[in-house]
């Protein structure tokens, strides 16, 4: 469990997580709880920050006990949240940008609604690949 924290969540318009992935492997139950709580509460911070920053990438918006939350807000108010323990912002930015490309493709699916979960295996695979490449 000493592995670093790297949890990526896409939160839909109604605060539903539509995609979750733990990029560093399984965690203890308590840790999972904590991560979700931190991510969820950081949405408040995202709401604050997104009106202050012009670009979609919001950098670190929230911290809790050494856990940082970096956010990215799409035009459709879908939020990408990455819970990490202090990664470099540049790599996260590029990660978010790439994931945004993927997400756009998901959006092109006419059957995808902004609140429906992303269950595509291919999306999952690519996100993991991106994380491995960009976030180490």
């Amino acid at each position: 469990m000493s592995a670093s924290t790297l949890t990526f969540v896409i939160v839909g318009q109604e605060d539903h997580p539509i995609y979750e992935v733990d990029l560093t492997g399984p965690k203890e139950q308590q840790t999972q709880y904590l991560h979700q709580f931190v991510l969820h509460s950081s949405l408040d911070a995202v709401d604050e920050q997104m009106w202050m920053i012009k670009e979609p990438h919001l950098k670190v918006v929230d911290r809790f006990n050494g856990l940082n939350v970096t956010a990215f807000v799409t035009a459709g108010n879908t939020r990408f949240l990455l819970l990490h323990d202090g990664r470099s912002d540049d790599s996260i930015r590029s990660f978010f940008t790439e994931v945004y490309e993927l997400y756009l493709r998901v959006l092109l699916n006419p059957f995808h609604t902004p609140t429906s979960r992303i269950t595509s295996r291919e999306f999952d695979r690519k996100v993991k690949l991106l994380a491995k490449r960009l976030l180490g």
Binding site: E14, D15, H16, P17, Q29, Q32, Y33, H35, Q36, F37, V38, H40, S41, S42, L43, D44, A45, N65
Partner: protein, 1727 residues
């Protein structure tokens, strides 16, 4: 909110109260109050107006609040005690769910003392002295940190208590007062009268709870300004003895204390301290001083400064100024002190000072815009600084402890210090705890300030910072406070609030405050639920569930555990745990339905197993019953179409084919029958990794029985409602509700779910299932209504693991109506039948059931299989009018079930095994077969009907066989009830390939009416050992000529004729194709036929008779027995000869030129011997059995086949005439068979021709073979190479067309030297060892076929439109024309057009119309293919020969396959199929058949076909000395393959006419017996003459032409030009010029019988035609042959190749013209 009053209250001056026990008793005994309690209500003093000088300034103190504390309680309780107290507080708070009290204040600073003694003591001064002496000082005073009480400057006030009620002497008191006033000063002594009341509360002036709110909670160990315990309450109540006067005097006492003692003394003290500090600290000198000193000592200490030290004094000064609200002065003093403390590293003191600075900044500002000011000057930094230093602890604490140890002796040994000595770590821990508390206090202050300033985020930040290292309970409080501050923020940060609340809850749980924790969690539950944050919800439910269990709140716990059940993402162990804890909790609970939350019952929310409520499928039998699930997958339209075949009588166009529109109250319903079960398919899924046992699964239904009376008025409302909610009507005639609420409406599920398997009306059956991990089961739940009425299914209920009840209501989705009928769900949507949950139960009906699925799982392609359908009437009424609709042509039902128990072969040969179709309405046609079974009989309830079904799958793949059984109730029901019921069966058979036969057909080189067939049969590698048993040629009457007239009836001999001759003779049997093995003597009459005088007279009947008489015994049979075993993967080849049927009788008088009228032939055939007779008779029967749809004939056939008796009779006749056992053997000499291996004789009795099931499979969809004529020449000319001639698509009048149409020369590539041909064909065809002598080497000529095939393929693109349409109806979907046919046909247009100028450039002027017409003619086909004018490129004519089907009977003796066939004999039929071209045999034949076929036979039987195949030809000996001219007789046989009569025109010598070459040699012989001249057309006179073209050098036309035909040169263009030349003036001129040079004396025509010679040069160097050059045959009937004798004369010995003859056929009926070029004939002449 202004925080300052609160802060000022918090930091009010404290007054120490000390009383002797006697004085204490004075107040306490009667009133239950301590002295402090008595004083506290009056601690605020207003309207003082006392001037006080602080520092340099002077202020007036207007009001002051002081705090009173008992001296004995003034010590700081240990941290543990504080924490315990906190827990107590929290508990109390949790009990009442109230806001929590603030943390008790921990540090006090005492500024004055009040000493009280009873007023009546003797020597008050001594009492006061002892009191002071015995006073237990607070710890800080003991440590000299605080300015001690004993100091004489300490402000003191002395009070004498006078107990009025106790009767204290007033006088004495006054004396004492005077005495102490003398001693202590006038202002500092008072007398207080108490207890003037009488103990009656009513008398007392104080409010009831007047004192209570000043009595703070007591700590367990005392301290913190409160006593250990409150004094016991006196019986009369607290303060009962105090009157208003008493209380007033208390108030004035406090006022005295403050104004006269406290403030003046404080002022003095401030002045003193200020002077002292100014002396030592302020100023430049002191600062430098301290600087040096500071650098000198570098130490860390926690040691408190004694009060008399400078540092202590500074703090005191600051505090005093602060208390007197001189904040600016206080702050400067604090800052001064802070420098010192920091320099000395005394973090505690420094932190304290910073804290005070922070407070000063807060309090010292003007009141106005506090927030704005605070923003400028944030006190938070001071608080944070203080916080940092407060929590610095351990090292400093340890160092301090060590310092204490070393200086223990000298310091006066305080108790705390001693404790620290004994246990330094403990002390350190305690100290650190105190430090933490202080830090927390600072943060609380800061947070309060921030909150007051409206900066809630900062508040939260501060609190969050403080909580992280705090002890649990306090941290919980801080977190909670922080969370609330998030809510205060604008906009409220709900999610952060929720998170911090959860964190607070966790802290509360850790410290055991579970109720508060639950409270905290519940607050945020609503915020998180439904947001799909899985882990968060799980955590909340898990925590809340566990806590609820702990507190015994089972219902809530159940809800939370219920939510936890959806835990598929957790490891299995945990899932099991979750399920178990839920079920355990639920075990004892009886009424689970009563557990509700938000109006929903727990039962409705049980998530296990997952039930798909949207996708339920109703399996209900209305008028249609289904047999098995496969039938339900077939689209409804299929069934409706099939049922329409049966119900066509009762339906009309008004009725929708889908049946009656069934709506009740605008909601669609389904009919079901009383007593029959209604099934609902529900899917249950187990999302967990735990095995689930689901029992007691039942449908929730409501039922309303049909009532006779009007429902609304009859039933009282209450009772009806009760019944309605009871789920099924408790015996009333109706349970309809009177108030309009309908029990059948959706959403009104019966409330009770207790076990009620049914009542008198419905029977709900239970199911149970076990769901393994991750498993999904589709369970069919059933309910059976027992009475007519209305049934509604609303949902399903179940019991999980025997404990938990679950229930769910179905939510069926339907398509939205365009125009909703109402507002209820059932009215808004349209539901397909399988989704309707409302049922009308109708009274008992008959019902058809399939007892077992009869179909085998797999069959071989072509296999014949009989299966038995067992149908039972499962209903309550008998059925009549049984019918069966078969939806696939590869299955058929016999007319009788008599053979169902007999073996397969027996029943196949049984004459009764016939097929008898009923007429199907035109709308439902398309492969549907309708059988009416058992007419007039009824199927009683329970009776089982067995009926055989024959399967003969011919494709490969899966055969889907839909069947519909139909029946009507014997007693028709009431109006609206079902009129009929059907049973829908859909069987499915996997069809595997076994045998594949590839036919190769080519025309026989010896017989014009024969074809050769090579049949390669491959056994599949996956197949079994198969024996080929029989080959049969089945002649199928073509569709367009299938029905003959009725004229054959009279001629049918009547030995076995059926008694209804009209039917059997309705159609004359078409003369069938015959078949024989190639090479067997008796069956290959090649030689014999050649010797026989072929009878070509027009009377075909006579020919047939002659043929039949002559070769009755040798007539080839139509079926050959074989025994060819084939192992899996093996192949075999059969070489067969196909013999076309003889030409038919002339057409009947009515204008139907191509009608089969073979009455004579059939009559003759019937009189024939055994085998042939049998064959033909069978064919006759066959024809008779053909159903009207197949034959296309109308009424008589339909009427005939409707009669069931007739078919049987026909069959009897057919079988009787079959005589197969001996006939087949006799006809086919089995001794000559290629293989003889266990031929199954019984198999050979198989009736392949009769009306039985076998023939049924092969009798439909046949149509006559078609050839295209006309444009063949053009197409063929352009196709292969570029040397083609200009198009002969002749222009001009039709009469001239025969002349104008130049026969196209075969393309140079097509005619090859014989040797070349031979070698080329070697690879193409295998060598056949059985080739007869007459056949040569049995290469039956690739030449002809290739050419003809080329022609044929060119022609195919231009068929009639009907032909194109007809192509699609070929049975196996194999169009006889290749897909590439169309482009192939159109491509030649280009080359042809291009070539035309090229030909012109060759020097010969072309006919003016030739190319001009050819080009448009070539284009026409696309636009106007139907036109019949000249210039049309092609015209299809039917061929004379009927289509042929070849069947190969095989059997597998003992099947080795597993399954129902194991060990069984399997038989089947295989049908040749030509995969490359995609044709069956008929198509192959058609491809090889030209409209006209010629065979030029020379002496000794050499034929042109044979010579072209490479034989050297016969040798003719002639003595040239005797006669200069050797005349060789030739015989040209022409067969009209067309299905129409034709007029033939045979021309030789390239149509050269003697008139054009008068000087040529001519030889004439006797012409035909009949004078052709009379019949010839306009060209006849010239054609009658035979011109022997002179062989002049200038006449390249003829020579080049003949050379071209010999394949020598390529100058075909010149030769071709001769044709058109005769038509037009230009051509005629050219030709005439050529011929004119010869100078012959032509033009003489003799018709004598002897040969005469005329002068002139021979027209051809090699040979010359003798006799008429143009012979006309007026009429050749379809299929007929005509022989034209020709003669050729040669002049010298040598080898000759005779070419240059052609035949033009003109079909009179359609005007089509076909020109056929003859093939060269080779022979040698030796002298």
């Amino acid at each position: 909110m202004d925080i300052r009053p609160w802060l000022q209250d918090l930091y009010a001056p404290a007054v120490l109260v000390a009383a002797t026990p006697a004085a204490e008793a004075v107040v306490q005994v009667k009133n239950g109050l301590s002295l402090v309690d008595l004083l506290r209500p009056y601690s605020s003093v207003y309207q003082l107006n006392v001037p006080v000088r602080v520092g340099e300034s002077s202020v007036r103190v207007q009001d002051l609040r002081v705090r009173f504390y008992d001296a004995a309680t003034l010590y700081q309780p240990p941290p543990e005690v504080i924490e315990e107290q906190l827990q107590e507080v929290l508990k109390a708070a949790a009990q009442r769910h109230a806001r929590l009290d603030p943390v008790p204040d921990l540090l006090q600073r005492f500024t004055s003392g009040v000493y009280a003694i009873p007023a009546d003591v003797v020597n008050p001064a001594s009492h006061f002295d002892t009191l002071v002496a015995q006073l237990v000082m607070p710890p800080l005073m003991q440590q000299d940190v605080m300015y001690t009480v004993r100091d004489k400057d300490f402000p003191r006030h002395y009070v004498l208590l006078l107990d009025v009620a106790a009767g204290m002497s007033e006088k004495r008191a006054t004396e004492n007062l005077a005495a102490i006033r003398k001693l202590y000063g006038e202002a500092h002594c008072s007398l207080l009268r108490v207890n003037s009341g009488n103990g009656d509360r009513a008398h007392s002036g104080a409010p009831v709870d007047f004192f209570a709110r000043y009595q703070h909670a007591c700590l367990r160990s005392g301290g913190a300004g409160e006593p250990l315990a409150r004094p016991p309450q006196p019986p009369s109540g607290v303060g009962a003895h105090l009157t208003v006067q008493d209380l007033d005097s208390v108030g004035s006492l406090v006022r005295d204390v403050v104004s006269r003692t406290l403030l003046p003394r404080l002022e003095e003290r401030i002045a003193r301290l200020n002077a002292s500090i100014t002396a030592t600290r302020r100023g430049l000198r002191n600062r430098l001083n301290r600087f040096w000193k500071g650098t000198a000592e570098d130490r860390q200490t926690d040691r408190p400064y004694p009060w008399h030290s400078v540092e202590g004094q500074m703090r005191q000064l600051g505090d005093l100024a602060f208390l007197l609200r001189q904040y600016a002065f206080a702050e400067s003093t604090y800052r001064l002190a802070a420098q010192d403390y920091q320099a000395e590293g005394n973090s505690k003191w420094y932190a304290g000072v910073e804290e005070m600075i922070g407070l000063c900044t807060v309090l010292g500002e003007p009141a106005d815009p506090i927030a704005a000011v605070l923003l400028q000057n944030d006190p938070m930094k001071y608080f944070m600084r203080a916080y940092e230093h407060y929590i610095k602890p351990p090292a400093a604490v340890l160092a301090a402890a060590a310092a204490v140890v070393t200086s223990a002796g000298g310091q006066g040994a305080a108790a705390a210090a001693a404790a620290a000595v004994q246990a330094p770590p403990a002390a350190a821990v305690a100290a650190s705890k105190v430090g933490r508390m202080l830090a927390t206090r600072v943060i609380l202050l800061g947070a309060a300030v921030q909150s007051a300033a409206g900066r809630h985020r900062a508040t939260s930040d501060a609190l969050m910072r403080a909580q992280s290292e705090e002890e649990n309970a306090r941290a919980g409080l801080l977190l909670e406070q922080s969370a609330y501050s998030m809510l205060y923020a604008r906009p409220p940060l709900m999610r952060k609030f929720a998170f911090q609340m959860v964190l607070a809850g966790i802290r509360y749980i850790c410290c055991g405050q579970k109720r508060i924790a639950i409270h905290a969690y519940r607050q945020v539950l609503a915020l998180y639920l439904g947001k799909k944050w899985r882990y968060i919800e799980e955590h909340l439910h898990a925590v809340l569930g566990a806590q609820c269990v702990e507190y015994g709140d089972k219902e809530r716990a159940l809800w939370h555990f219920c939510s936890l059940l959806d835990c598929g993402h957790r490891p299995p162990a945990q899932q099991a745990n979750n399920v178990a804890q839920f079920l355990n909790l639920l075990t004892g609970i009886r009424d689970q339905l009563a557990i509700t939350q938000d109006g929903a019952s727990l039962v409705d929310r049980l998530p296990l197993p997952v039930v798909n409520r949207h996708d339920v499928r109703v399996l209900c039998s209305d008028s249609a019953c289904y047999a098995g699930p496969a039938a339900r997958t077939v689209p409804d339209s299929t069934w409706v179409k099939m049922e329409a075949c049966c119900t066509s009588g009762s339906n009309n166009w008004l009725v929708d084919p889908g049946g009656l529109k069934q709506e009740k109250d605008h909601e669609e319903f389904t009919m079901c029958v009383r007593g029959e079960e209604v099934g609902v398919q529900v899917e249950f899924r187990n999302p967990l990794a735990v095995k689930l046992k689901v029992t007691n699964v039942r449908l929730i239904c409501s039922f309303t029985p049909d009532g006779d009376v009007a429902p609304t008025a009859a039933v009282p409302v209450g009772q009806a409602a009760a019944e309605g909610s009871g789920g099924g009507g408790g015996g009333g005639s109706s349970v309809l509700l009177a108030d309009g609420a309908h029990p059948l409406l959706p959403g009104q599920a019966p409330a009770a779910i207790s076990a009620q398997p049914g009542n008198e009306f419905i029977m709900v059956s239970e199911a149970q299932l076990t769901l393994h991990p991750g498993e999904a089961l589709v369970e069919v739940l059933r309910v059976a209504p027992h009475a007519p009425g209305w049934l509604r299914i609303t949902g399903v209920t179940w019991t999980l693991n025997g404990v938990a009840h679950g229930r769910i209501a179905f939510d069926v989705k339907g398509r939205r109506r365009k125009r909703p009928k109402g507002t209820r769900p059932g009215q808004l949507k349209h539901f397909p039948p399988h989704r309707r949950l409302l049922f009308q139960v109708v009274p008992t009906m008959p019902r058809l059931e399939l007892l077992a699925d009869p179909l085998p799982p797999a069959l071989y392609s072509g296999e014949l299989c009989r299966v038995m359908m067992r149908i039972r009437n499962g209903g309550g009424l008998p059925l009549r009018s049984l019918a069966l609709v078969v939806g696939h042509p590869e299955a058929v039902v016999p007319a009788t079930d008599a053979n169902k128990d007999r073996p397969l072969l027996d029943s196949l040969t049984d004459p009764r095994e016939v097929v008898q179709l009923s007429k199907v309405p035109a709308s439902a046609r398309g492969g549907l077969q309708l059988y009416r079974l058992w007419p007039g009989r009824e199927l009683a309830p329970g009776e089982v009907l067995e009926w055989p079904l024959w399967l003969h799958p011919r494709g490969v793949g899966t055969l889907k066989l839909p069947l519909v059984w139909y029946g009507e109730p014997a007693i028709p029901g009431a109006k609206g009830a079902m009129r009929h019921r059907t049973l829908r069966i859909c069987g499915s058979v996997a069809v595997q390939p076994l045998l594949a036969a590839r036919p190769t057909v080519w025309p026989s080189p010896t017989h014009l009416s024969h074809s050769l067939l090579r049949l390669a049969v491959d056994n599949s590698k996956e197949g079994e050992r198969v024996v080929l048993q029989q080959v049969a040629a089945v002649t199928v009457p073509p569709l367009n000529g299938g029905g003959g007239g009725g004229q054959g009836a009279a001629t049918t001999p009547g030995a076995g004729t059926p008694p209804t001759p009209s039917a059997s003779s309705a159609r004359a049997p078409p003369a069938g194709w015959r078949i024989s093995l190639l090479g067997s003597q008796s069956s290959s009459p090649a030689g014999a036929a050649a010797e026989q005088p072929p009878p070509p007279p027009p009377a075909a009947a006579a020919a047939a008779a002659g043929d039949g008489d002559g070769a009755a015994a040798a007539a080839p049979p139509r079926s050959l027995p074989l025994a060819v075993p084939l192992q899996p993967g093996e192949s075999a080849s059969l070489f067969l000869q196909l013999i076309a049927p003889p030409p038919r009788a002339p057409p009947p008088p009515q204008q139907q030129p191509h009608k089969h009228a073979a009455g004579a032939a059939s009559a003759e055939a019937r009189s024939r011997g055994s085998s042939a007779h049998g064959m033909v008779a069978a064919a006759a029967g066959h024809g008779a059995a053909i159903s009207p749809p197949a034959s296309g004939l109308a009424t008589p056939g339909a009427a005939g086949s409707e009669d069931p008796g007739l078919a049987v009779v026909q069959a009897v006749e057919a079988v009787r005439s079959l005589a197969l056992t001996d006939g087949g053997a006799a006809a086919g000499p089995s001794g000559r068979l290629p293989y003889v291996d266990g031929a199954d004789v019984s198999l050979q009795r198989m009736n392949l021709y009769g009306p039985g099931v076998l023939a049924h499979f092969y009798r439909r969809g046949r149509r006559g073979m078609v050839a295209t004529i006309g444009a063949a020449a053009a197409a063929a000319a352009a196709a292969p190479t570029g040397a083609g001639p200009p198009g002969p698509a002749g222009a001009g009048p039709r009469g001239a067309a025969a002349q104008a149409l130049g026969p196209p020369p075969p393309p140079p590539g097509a005619i090859m030297p014989p040797t070349l041909q031979h070698s080329a064909s070697t690879g193409g065809l295998p060598h056949h060892p059985l080739g007869g002598a007459g056949l040569g080497p049995a290469y039956p000529g690739l030449h002809g076929p290739t050419q003809q095939q080329a022609l044929q393929q060119q022609q195919h693109p231009h068929p009639h439109p009907q032909l194109l349409q007809a192509v699609g109806s070929f049975q196996r979907g194999t169009p006889p024309y290749g897909p590439g046919g169309v482009p192939q046909g159109f491509n030649p247009v280009g080359p042809q057009g291009l070539l035309a100028p090229g030909a012109g450039a060759a020097g010969r002027p072309l006919g003016p119309t030739g190319p001009a017409v050819a080009a448009p003619g070539a284009v026409v086909p696309a636009s106007a293919p139907g036109g019949s004018g000249p210039g049309r490129p092609g015209q299809s004519v039917p061929l004379a020969d009927p289509p042929l089907d070849l069947l190969l009977l095989w059997h597998v003796a003992v099947s080795t396959r597993t399954g129902p066939h194991q060990g069984q004999q399997r038989i089947g039929l295989c049908r040749p199929f030509d995969p490359p071209s995609g044709r069956d045999l008929s198509g192959c034949l058609q491809a090889q058949t030209a409209p006209i076929r010629m065979l030029l036979t020379g002496p000794n039987g050499a034929s042109s076909a044979a010579s072209s195949a490479g034989s050297a030809g016969p040798v003719v000996r002639h003595d040239f000395r005797r006669s200069a001219l050797a005349v060789v007789p030739l015989r040209l046989v022409v067969r009209n393959n067309m299905g129409v009569e034709a007029r033939l025109q045979v021309e030789v010598g390239e149509g050269w006419q003697s008139t054009d070459a008068p000087h040529s040699w001519q030889a004439s012989t006797a012409i035909l017996g009949s004078s052709p001249g009379a019949n010839l057309g306009p060209a006849a006179p010239s054609a009658m003459s035979q011109g022997v073209s002179g062989g002049g050098a200038g006449h390249q036309a003829a020579s080049a032409a003949s050379g071209a035909y010999a394949g020598a040169t390529g100058g075909g263009a010149g030769g071709m030009a001769a044709g058109p030349a005769s038509a037009g003036p230009t051509g005629g001129g050219g030709g005439g010029g050529a011929g004119g040079g010869l100078g012959g004396s032509g033009g003489l025509m003799t018709s004598g019988s002897s040969i005469t010679y005329q002068a002139g040069l021979p027209p051809c160097p090699e040979y010359s035609w003798v006799g008429p050059t143009s012979v006309a045959v007026p009429r050749v009937e379809p299929g007929g042959e005509v022989e034209v004798p020709l003669t050729v004369a040669v002049f010298r010995p040598g080898a000759y190749c005779v070419a240059g003859y052609r035949c033009t056929a003109i079909a009179e009926s359609s005007g089509a013209v076909e020109v056929q070029r003859g093939e060269p004939l080779c022979f040698r002449v030796e002298s």
